[in-house]
Amino acid sequence: MSEVLVDVKNLKKYFPTSEKDKVVKAVDDVSFRIFKGETLGVVGESGCGKSTTGRLTLKLLEPTAGSVSFKGQDLSGLKRKDMRALRREMQIIFQDPYASLDPRKTVFQILAEPYRIHHPEMSREQIYEKVTGLIDCVGLRPEHIYRYPHEFSGGQRQRVGIARAIALNPEFVVCDEPVSALDVSIQAQVINLMQDIKKEFNLTYMFISHDLRIIKHFCDRVMVMYLGNIVEIGSKEAIYEKRRHPYTQALLSAIPNIKSKDKGERILLTGDIPSPVNPPSGCPFHPRCSQCMEICKKEKPVLRTMEDGTQVACHLELS
């Protein structure tokens, strides 16, 4: 087994609501590891806690309980100064490149900022060299550095977002729906770019997406979340082929089929995703599960490890 880069243990994040005694259980006790050099895909529908998990992993949010360790170092005990130093090694690419780039700064100013903050010893010339290098690396042209974010298309803006994330040579990048706001032909360009950059900079990705096709293409391991819980985590092959958890089955069968002629049996889930303020008792998925048993309504299933290493949280007999 390769080196563990990120180790998340019993992580919880509850947000307060306007009602005093009620909380939103956005992330409710998740534990997982991210290994060096891999891409862990996190997939689930809105409100499943995937983005919150991503932010907690980077300590952009403080957890309610649980811990995150990066290279063996527990982040919760870190002082501001030490955390800042560690931030160089852990970065994030956001979904909406327009909202995450300062509209009043040129691309040069945006990309120079990480160096100014973390490497105050660098001269303007050195920074300029770095920035033009970055720009080239993400497929933009040198003249682009004096433009403002609004002068770019969505795909180009996301390239700027990627350049900013890799500016300080990080080891770990959380990608939070990085291509969801882009057109399909542009999505493919950005996905390929992210693949190239991963190789070039030896990155480890946590790739958050609701797009099951892109997750399959891009990730080594996949974690499926539902209502703040991990329902299944394992290798891409195990998740997409074995489809052990009933929710994984439903999610995968809901992808509209493009290329093959036989449409296969679709599992149509009834009802909506329950509210995380008032999650169901027992298994969070039980009200929508076609194979729900008595025990599912009472007892929350824990992650069980299968023979191939996949972990599944389900009371059904699985192998």
């Binding site: 057109d183 096709r213 997409y240 002629k261």
Partner: protein, 321 residues
């Protein structure tokens, strides 16, 4: 006779930046009881095409510069606004992408459905309420009698889209235009809504135009597909034929951009470059700057839509005789 015939439709926008040719000579027809999919990326003109059919293009900047839209033989573009109102929301209705912004937050969903019934069908309040409950049941909203009193914010995204569909069905439309109806929804909810639209289409024998950027949605729903690029239809074919054997380089590029769930590839094959600006279209083939088959010939003049065997059409020099 076709239910809808769009002929050489041109919808241009006049802005400070110049003339934006959002829809530039679009032609297609739709038979009764059929589903036509229009697919393309942002700015290809798919939404402006649908707004043109509803005659909802913003009159302060947009103008219909040519062509005709025949609905049961009658040219919509020539109708006086009063006549158009009788069609719109009644015989032709539309559902939009974001159900929260298309519903009025300060009225109950019942009120919003009843409004159209009272206006178009001349029902009284009691009749309208009964019909509203029926419509909510038809679109699969549980406890419709209770839900009819609720406000949009009390419903989930999927339920709101069902309400939008119920509203659209209030006038018993012959044509339903669905503009990205599932884009804002999660996959499992998207599957529910597509299933609902399919069953309603059969039950009510409606024609549907479904507008989307998602080829998967097209594959699920449409009998026929028109692929749009930069204000033009570049390819039109029966859905299965298009997916099995795409002809236009843009269609091929679009399909290759989507990772396949069934088979793994090392790298996605991409379309390089960007969509041309509406205000500065290439003189010749609009896809030429991004096309790997492009040659000097392509850039000379606009390419005609060529009819191929089996009634499919493609706008590409390589297929011209």
């Amino acid at each position: 006779m076709s239910l809808l015939e769009v002929k050489d439709l041109k919808t241009y926008f006049y802005t400070d930046a110049g003339v934006g040719k959002a829809v530039d000579g679009v032609t297609f027809s739709l038979d009764k009881g059929k589903v036509l999919g229009i697919v393309g990326e942002s700015g290809c003109g798919k939404s402006v095409t649908s707004l043109s059919i509803m005659r909802l293009v913003d009159p302060t900047t947009g103008r219909y510069e040519g062509g005709s839209i025949l609905f049961e033989g009658q040219d919509i573009l020539k109708l006086p606004e009063k006549e158009m109102r009788k069609l719109r929301g009644n015989r032709i209705s539309m559902i939009f992408q974001e159900p929260m912004t298309s519903l009025n937050p300060v009225f109950t969903i019942g009120y919003q459905i009843e409004e159209s019934l009272i206006l178009h069908k001349g029902m009284d309040k009691k009749q309208a309420r009964e019909r509203a409950v029926e419509l909510l049941e038809l679109v699969g909203i549980p406890e419709a009698k209770k839900r009819v009193e609720e406000y949009p914010h009390q419903l989930s995204g999927g339920m709101r889209q069902r309400v939008m569909i119920a509203m659209a069905l209030a006038g018993d439309p012959e044509l339903l235009i669905a503009d990205e109806p599932t884009t804002a929804l999660d996959v499992t909810i998207q599957a529910q809504i597509l299933e609902l639209l399919k069953s309603l289409q059969k039950k009510l024998d409606m024609s549907i135009i479904i507008i989307t950027h998602d080829l998967g949605v097209i594959a699920e729903m449409a009998d026929e597909v028109a692929v749009m690029y930069a204000g033009d239809i570049v390819e039109k074919a029966a859905t299965r034929e298009l997916f099995d054997d795409p002809k236009h380089p843009y269609t091929i590029g679009l399909m290759n951009s989507i990772p396949d769930v069934e088979e793994d590839v090392e790298r996605l094959r991409t379309l390089e470059g960007l969509v041309p600006s509406l205000y500065d279209m290439p003189a010749g083939c609009r896809f030429a700057p991004r096309c790997r088959f492009a040659c000097a010939e392509c850039e000379k003049q606009r390419i005609r839509l060529t009819e191929l065997a089996g009634g499919r059409q493609v706008r590409c020099r390589r297929y011209e005789q």
